[in-house]
Assembly symmetry: C2
Homo-oligomer: 119 residues x 2
């Protein structure tokens, strides 16, 4: 027996969670939304649409397009995106610890149940 959860930020609907965080982290690392989308098995247009929708709901930009230059353009995250990513990462870590602590505390009497076998 164990606890499981999904957690996300809502603002006029589901706005930010693990998926967008992964996209932004990828862009921060690679400088390319194209590359990140491909790595995540997502079309570029879908990744772009998703980020655009978040920007519209939150009212600030997450990605800046760099045009031309040595690398032939690409994307980079904005300072606001960086702040959002940091807040979200801290929040996720803190929530995870708290949820697991609450679970262990309240479900102690069920701890005897054997863990599921991996299938």
């Amino acid at each position: 027996m164990k606890v499981a959860y999904r957690i996300w930020i809502d603002h006029k609907g589901k706005v930010f969670g693990d998926g967008p965080q992964e996209i932004l982290k990828g862009v921060e690392k690679t400088g390319s939304l194209h590359q990140v989308a491909a790595q995540m098995g997502m079309s570029y247009s879908k990744a772009w649409k998703r980020i655009r929708e978040i920007e519209q709901r939150l009212g600030f930009p997450l990605l800046e397009r760099r045009v031309g230059g040595q690398s032939g353009g690409g994307s980079r995250i904005t300072p606001q995106a960086k702040e959002l990513m940091l807040c979200y990462a801290r929040f996720q870590r803190e929530a995870k610890v708290a949820i697991e602590r609450a679970y262990r505390k309240q479900f102690a009497s069920f701890a005897k149940l054997p863990e599921s076998k991996r299938t």
Copy 2:
């Protein structure tokens, strides 16, 4: 901006959460799985199957069938079901408080974003 989440107990797959808790609470109150299923807009057979699956995964009974008697039979929750419901309710409350506390703490800098209008 606000936090949103779904949380559940996993044991050989998703095993217990808000839905089953609601079913058991209803049976505790009404003594009838038929009545609870109807109230939740669920077929009796679906409600029964769901409870049965949880029992099989957890390895203990949740509902006892009462046959006949003045009320013409019905269902009642077992002591193990009662314990599970109590643990789950306490866990849910504690997790909710912790998640909201973590959110307020980590997303303080985004608090200026206006709340979404109800649509």
